[in-house]
Amino acid sequence: MAVTLKPQVITEVFTDPMVPVPYRVRRVRRETADTFTFEYEALDGRRFPFAPGQFNMLYLFGVGEVPISISGDPAHPELLVHTIRAVGTVTKPLCQAKPGDIIGVRGPFGSSWPVREAAGNDIVIVAGGVGLAPLRPAIYYILNHRGEYGRVVLLYGARTPGDMLYKKELAEWRGRFDLQVEVTVDAARPDEWQGNVGVVTTLIPRAHFDPHHVTALVCGPEIMMRFTILELQKRGLRDDQIYISMERNMKCAIALCGHCQYGPHFVCKDGPVFRFDRVKEIFGRREI
């Protein structure tokens, strides 16, 4: 008997980007009074490749979901690392998670720091507060490929010495001869801090780099990024040499919910990392 095969409708097999994948907390490290760094591993052992600057949506069972930047080393995709500040209804309980607890992860999403494109250039990284967390994967990447870059500078500003992230690593990085690390705090008692006092922009004039061949990676509160850009422009950087990372409300992270719109951009898809010349018309404008 002849069998006629009908053309079959092929339904694409895909992971629904709205469905979280369970991850287990492996380690917790306290960074500051309200900020913690978590190492997670997938229950099914899957690796988590990502690009520096990308973020995930972290889900706490029944509570909700928040966008959080990935702060780990892209050379170690077997571990997923997030630094989380306990400020909201989801981040507070997320920060109370203990080793063995399970959370949900969707991602990675969004654009990344241009670490490959910047090869051959000097690099200046300017971070404010928890803004160091999304930059740390870029720092790891650059240090892992140190020979490909010229001078590398890290400028970090925190509100107080107690608000500084990654203190041990900062100390290690300061000990390196191939990295200029400058740290400042907005305010400190003399008995707890002997270093720089002042906002992070005060460090920019003394950073060593060639303004014509440098890529700047900037992350922090919007006001901090605005003044950082002004200082970098004073040093002679063009707008297309400067990259910033934006933060907006996000519900889906796949450019369908509309919440993260920033002018014509969706921060979840076109950002969070933007080359400054692409957003300069709206950057700093109030309530966009």
Binding site: L43, L256, F266
Partner: protein, 379 residues
């Protein structure tokens, strides 16, 4: 057969619904509920608002009896077809605790197979726009796609315009030209009551074969064209879209935004009735025992404070900023994002605004103030 036109007598319209229902379609269309023409299940032609029309203006909507028994003698109401393709409330998945972890079960329920009865040309364009939003980017909304793939569209060409209509300005109507399976133009002339039916797809042709028809003569087609042309001349509103993106981007700090903010109630009606507004939020909930969790997606609006909340406060804290976001998104940044305007000129946002804020008037105010400044400078 595609592109061919036929005559369907009014008394045979029920046979069209019968044919669709026999094919397994859930027929939905305009029907009267709570003093308005909304979209809901249509079991028979009698469920349609026969002999009714609507009077619309800024902040005003009234149903009125017609002097005839037209079946489609009104324009669009507060509902749009997005409520079927992009439901207002949708469960995305459920999760159940197991030990310390949880298991997620996505909502893969087979969506209904809808036949939309009476889709106006502006609404067809709204569907095309949402196609771009949900299925044309890096990510696709599987729920929209599953619904969209299955629909059957019976378009209706408008033979009269509403008081807040401006599809001619937006180049989206009043005649349906693409994207329908069948398109009807309703003709009432003396004792005659019939439809000129245009076949848009093979699927449409197949359904029409179950309905008694006669080939339409050139004179029938001409009458239908004339009726639609008359609607085009009756537009209640007009919007000049010349360089509208640049106009709005140039005027993000225009005093008109402050002025409109004094009238806008931030009620979000415009975004709910808009056939292209697509924003959603998600709610994560659990049952009382905390063992079952669910993520529910719901329509959201850029007019709420929560919409732009990041820790520390809302990005768009003022009513001025929220109205500006809505209007500039609709008419300007939508073009950057999706290669099309987000407005189809249906007029719903004008009609259903409780204080009658008129999108066409807001743009005109900004355009005219610029023109006035230019002519002052020019002397």
């Amino acid at each position: 057969m595609i592109g061919e036109q036929f005559l369907v007598e009014r008394r045979d319209l029920q046979k069209l619904l019968d044919a669709l229902q026999k094919k397994g379609y859930e027929t939905v269309g305009p029907t009267i509920r709570e003093g308005a023409i909304v979209y809901g299940p249509i079991a028979s032609v009698e469920d349609l608002p026969i002999g009714w029309t609507d009077e619309q203006d800024g902040g005003r909507y009234r149903l009125k009896r017609r002097e005839d028994s037209a079946v489609f003698g009104y324009v669009v109401g507060p509902h749009s077809w997005k409520r079927f393709l992009h439901p207002p409330v949708l469960s995305l998945w459920k999760a159940r605790r197991n030990g310390k972890g949880f298991e997620v079960v996505p909502n893969n329920a087979e969506p209904p197979q809808y036949a939309f009865i009476g889709v106006r040309s502006c609404e067809l364009h709204a569907i095309f726009i949402q196609d771009r939003v949900f299925t044309n980017g890096k990510f696709t909304d599987p729920h929209y796609q599953a619904r969209r793939q299955k629909i059957f569209i019976v378009a209706v060409n408008c033979v009269q315009a509403g008081g807040t209509c401006f599809c001619v300005s937006m180049k989206t109507g009043p005649r349906a030209t693409v994207g329908f399976d069948l398109a009807l133009t309703e003709i009432l002339e003396g004792q005659r009551h019939y439809f000129v039916a245009e076949v848009g797809t093979e699927k449409g042709a197949e359904i029409l074969r179950s309905v008694p028809t006669k080939p339409a003569q050139p004179s029938d087609i001409q009458i239908a064209e004339d009726r639609v042309a008359r609607a085009a001349r009756q537009m209640g509103r007009h919007l000049d879209t010349t360089n509208i993106r640049e106009l709005l981007y140039r005027n993000l700090e225009h005093p008109r935004w402050d002025e409109v903010a004094t009238r806008c109630l931030n009620c979000a009606n415009c975004t709910m009735v808009c056939p292209t507004c697509f924003c959603t939020t998600v709610e994560d909930v659990t049952d009382l025992t905390g063992t079952e969790a669910e993520r529910v997606r719901k329509w959201d609006s850029c007019f709420t404070l929560d919409f732009s909340y990041v820790h520390g406060g809302s990005v768009r804290a003022s009513a001025r900023a929220r109205y500006r976001q809505w209007l500039t998104h609709k008419l300007a940044s939508w073009i950057d994002q999706f290669g099309t305007s987000g407005c189809v000129g249906c007029g719903r946002c004008i009609t259903w605004c409780p204080v009658g804020i008129d999108i066409t008037e807001e743009v005109r105010a900004i355009r005219q103030s610029e023109a006035a400044q230019l002519s002052e400078r020019g002397g």
